[in-house]
């Protein structure tokens, strides 16, 4: 599964990428997880299976949904507490959950 994380500069979400990669590795899953700034997201969305947005950029969700719609990719906002605590395991589980729904 390919998981795309998006925030303003792609900085704070990139912290989460490492944590999620570790969680995925522990569970024996080979996922591609990467973070980009909002302005570049348009070039990356088609390569993702699921798009997660940093909670501080949640106002961007509607635009993201518009970008993701042609590819049928689910988009959602990461829970603030998990985001703050950089909880890779929980965010990974969240990504899997919404990917299944999508």
């Amino acid at each position: 599964m390919n998981i795309l994380l998006v925030c303003s500069a792609g900085m704070s979400t990139s912290l989460l990428v490492t944590k999620m990669e570790n969680a995925a590795k522990e569970q024996g899953k080979e996922y591609k997880i990467w973070a980009v700034p909002e302005a570049e997201a348009g070039n990356h969305i088609s390569k993702a299976d699921v798009v997660l947005i940093g909670p501080q950029m949640r106002f961007w969700k509607k635009d993201a949904e518009k970008l993701a719609k042609p590819y049928g990719i689910p988009v959602d906002v990461i829970n603030t507490v998990d985001y703050g605590m950089n909880d890779g395991t929980k965010v990974l589980a969240f990504a899997e959950k919404i990917a299944r729904k999508g």
Partner: protein
């Protein structure tokens, strides 16, 4: 806490949505994307300015004969930024319209926008150097002209394409050739308009727009406007919205105008005209969460210690999200006061210190992830006083946070004991 609920509700549902709507407006969004695309060039310019003014005597002496070369690199990048901006706005605005009509081509848009803008700078001829492009207003001063000319040109372009006022080639003509003809009428319409204005009517529209925007720039660069900017920035962050992102989309052209003027003044050896620049905000005001991280690292609350360790490295490099969402600061009524008024205090304090002449104003752009004191030192061309002011602000924020943090910590400690 009914008051707090009301406040949060008001920010989240009343204040934030219109601000976000403004920042997501197609024009401001295109301008912001153009600036993001130009950022490497702006940083390159700043790097050369830094080299030209690097505060080591031996270095200064060594480069003295060629110091003009370093300023020259700035002149050909930041000094010509409006050209890049015209291309960028033309490209990204066309890209927006491309989603509505596939015949709008971003590259054609960029070209139309570029030459529309250049039409306003009649090429001159001098005996010494031959043909030349007058570059005085192609830098930061021409930005508003570049933006407005680009927007109008792209509006004409996309209108004609959407209304299908184009030259249609018969089937069988290769698509490449056909598309070149498709944009022929729009190019003529958009670029010729500027020719008529600039050459036929002899209206110096760049100067006109500059003069028109002068009050906006002067107002936007003022203490009050930037103070309000910081206030909105913090207020939005308080409800967990990226306030800096929203404020930047409106302030960016003004900030770059300020930066351009500051660099120009520094090159000429004059006083730095603008204090409350984006650089000022980054080096002195939006200081990192480090004071809180230090408090959390020595906390008796286990969750705080974990968060402190996790947030230490990001905080050193000004990434605030782990603390903002982890502690959390958002929607925390007790931390509301230091979060909003602490930073407004630091803003006012630093402004006064610089205005009084004790510390020089920054004029070199250092990327925002560089720790405050280092950025302040480099950004002022090597002022220890600036580094000291930035450091002092970390300390001040520490003591502003402290009493409020203690209350939050006490509650967390109580919860921890109850759960054990």
């Amino acid at each position: 806490m009914a008051v707090m609920d009301k406040l949060t509700n008001a920010v989240e549902n009343k204040i934030a949505p219109p601000l976000i709507k403004i920042s997501k407006n197609r024009y401001l969004d295109s301008i912001q994307k153009a600036f993001i695309a130009l950022m490497p060039v702006i940083i390159l310019a700043s790097f050369f300015v830094l080299l030209a003014s690097f505060p080591i005597k031996a270095w200064q002496k060594m480069i003295e004969p060629i110091v003009g070369y370093f300023w020259g690199a700035n002149g050909s990048t930041l000094g010509l930024l409006s050209i890049g901006l015209a291309i960028g706005v033309g490209y990204f605005l066309s890209k927006y319209y491309q989603e509505k009509n596939a015949n709008v081509n971003p590259f054609s848009g960029a070209i139309i926008s570029l030459f529309s803008f250049l039409m306003l700078f009649p090429v001159g001829v001098s005996e010494e150097i031959g043909a030349y492009l007058p570059a005085n207003n192609l830098g930061s001063t021409g930005m508003f002209a570049a933006i407005i000319v680009s927007i109008i040109s792209i509006e004409i372009y996309r209108f004609l394409i959407q209304k299908n006022i184009v030259i249609k080639m018969p089937e069988g003509v290769p698509p490449m050739v056909a598309s070149a003809f498709t944009s022929l009428i729009p190019v003529f319409a958009a670029v010729t308009l500027w020719w008529v204005i600039r050459f036929l009517f002899q209206i110096d529209i760049v100067n006109l727009i500059m003069t028109g925007f002068e009050p906006i720039v002067a107002g936007g660069a003022s203490f009050i406007a930037q103070f309000v900017g910081v206030f909105i920035d913090r207020l939005l962050w308080f409800v967990g919205i990226h306030g800096t992102n929203v404020v930047t989309s409106v302030m960016q052209p003004i900030w770059l105008d300020m930066l351009g003027s500051n660099v120009k003044a520094a090159e000429a050896g004059l006083a730095i005209p603008y204090i409350a620049s984006e650089q000022f905000l980054n080096y002195f005001v939006r200081v990192s969460m480090l004071p809180l991280v230090v408090l959390m690292l020595i906390s008796a609350v286990k969750r705080y210690r974990t968060l402190g360790k996790l947030a230490l490295a990001p905080s050193i490099f000004n990434i605030a999200e782990p603390v903002i969402f982890g502690l959390p600061i958002i929607l925390n009524p007790i931390l509301f006061i230091p979060w909003i008024f602490g930073y407004l205090f630091i803003f006012t304090f630093s402004y006064l210190v610089i205005a009084s002449g004790l510390v020089p104003a920054p004029y070199i752009l250092i990327p925002w992830t560089v720790p405050g004191p280092i950025a302040a030192y480099l950004g002022t061309g090597g002022s220890w006083a600036a580094a000291l002011l930035s450091t002092l602000n970390y300390v001040l924020m520490f003591f502003i946070w402290l009493p409020f943090y203690r209350i939050v910590e006490k509650q967390a400690l109580k919860e921890q004991r109850e759960n054990e």
